[in-house]
Amino acid sequence: MEAVTRKYKAKDYKSELKPIWCPGCGDYTVLNALTRALAELGLAPEQVAVVSGIGCSSRIPAYTSVYGFHGVHGRALPVATGLKLARPDLTVLVTGGDGDGFSIGGNHFLHACRRNVDLTYIVMDNQVYGMTKGQASPTTAPDWEGSKLTPEGTGINPFQPLVVGLASGANFVARVSSSDPVNMAQIIVEAIRHPGFSLVQVLSPCVTFRPEQAEWRDIVRTAVVDYTDDAARAARRLMTDDGFNVGKVLYKGERPPFRPEFEKTNGSIAELEARFLL
């Protein structure tokens, strides 16, 4: 234990804007965990950027005091990739939901994992499109009958984000629960510190359109095994669990992050024309 005063407190990373999520929503906890993690890392707010797409959870940038970009549905990862490559000095975080990240943004997700840029992607997975009033998302169970659009369920196997992330090359994979914000803060700290593309899946209940998810806080359990550096082994573990083993890092890879070297330019229009104009 150090006898030092931290420069920043969690609340220093929150903006004046009050969240409009439903009371009880797991996303409040993610905001709290994220700001605690940043305080623990001692990062100045101007050293951090949060990029998001569209959806309830994608509102997070507005509720923070760091740089934020609330972008286009499903396109948070390419925006964040560009930002990180242009400004490698920034800590770039990406936040969003399961629909934004794995359906509309599914292709970007695969290639962001492959590319392994030094980003931390926090996905608040509630297995539903909440902002548009409760439709099945890519991670919804096939027999969920809560939406009139799919009255007999989707009949489609849910997307397995962590397994797909591993197969595609994510360098850090973890699953946490919004019922344990302190553990989540710890995992986010680890994810940010780990070089390359870090994927953190948060089980974050939608209390309005999936009220039964309130039970998740009693169902989740701390994973009993520690992380591995073998992606195939991590994937096998994930394929055989029930999705409620949380609270630990599952995989840490050693693949070096993608950091292209750019030629130094003087930034003039004439130089750009000389290089790119056909």
Partner: protein, 177 residues
């Protein structure tokens, strides 16, 4: 999940106690404020008023505590290193335990439960610490939490039949047709 054996049992020195108290009161004030904001956003003014009143009480307590801590070099704890038995500090109501239809009575009972946990936390330190100054201060903090419990008991006694009703929603969330 960040399970610790027991609340407050491992706190032995005055700086450790003050660091925990400061974190707990900060978290409680912020959480009550967040809950009041949530309820105000959803026009649940009676429940919001309860949480707002508690936020003010915690902030007053925090002011006194800040003054007390000014002369002491406090140890730094990462959020996961505090000696709480649960994930967050005992006084903070878990976000997942509220909903927009919470009745006034339910809100008071929830707050009472967490004020009691805070009192128990300090009482545990007072009972297990060896240093006299730690025991004395922990006892004083426990008494302050009992005072908050007393207010809540009074509020509870003043609750009318309407305060026990689950708040009606004139515009309930409906799945898309």
């Amino acid at each position: 999940m960040s399970g610790k054996p027991q609340d407050g049992g491992a706190i032995r020195t005055l700086p450790e106690l003050l660091a925990h108290a400061l974190a707990m009161e900060n978290e409680a004030a912020e959480r009550y404020g967040e809950l009041a904001d949530q309820m105000e956003t959803h026009h649940k003014t009676a429940v919001a008023a309860i949480f707002r009143r508690l936020e003010k009480a915690e902030k007053a307590h925090l002011g006194e505590l800040d003054e007390m801590c000014r002369k002491v070099q406090l140890p730094h704890y990462a959020p996961w290193d505090f000696k709480w038995s649960g994930s967050e500090s005992p006084e903070a109501i878990a976000i997942g335990r509220v909903n927009y239809q919470l009745s006034v009575r339910e809100a008071i009972l929830l707050a009472f439960e967490h004020e009691r946990k805070a009192a128990d936390f300090y009482a545990e330190i007072a009972n297990t610490a060896e240093a006299a100054d730690v025991k004395e201060l922990a006892r004083q903090f426990a008494d302050e939490e009992h005072e908050h419990m007393g207010w809540l008991e009074t509020y509870l006694a003043e609750c009318g039949p309407d305060d026990s009703r689950v708040l009606e929603d004139p515009d309930p969330p409906l799945g898309q047709e």
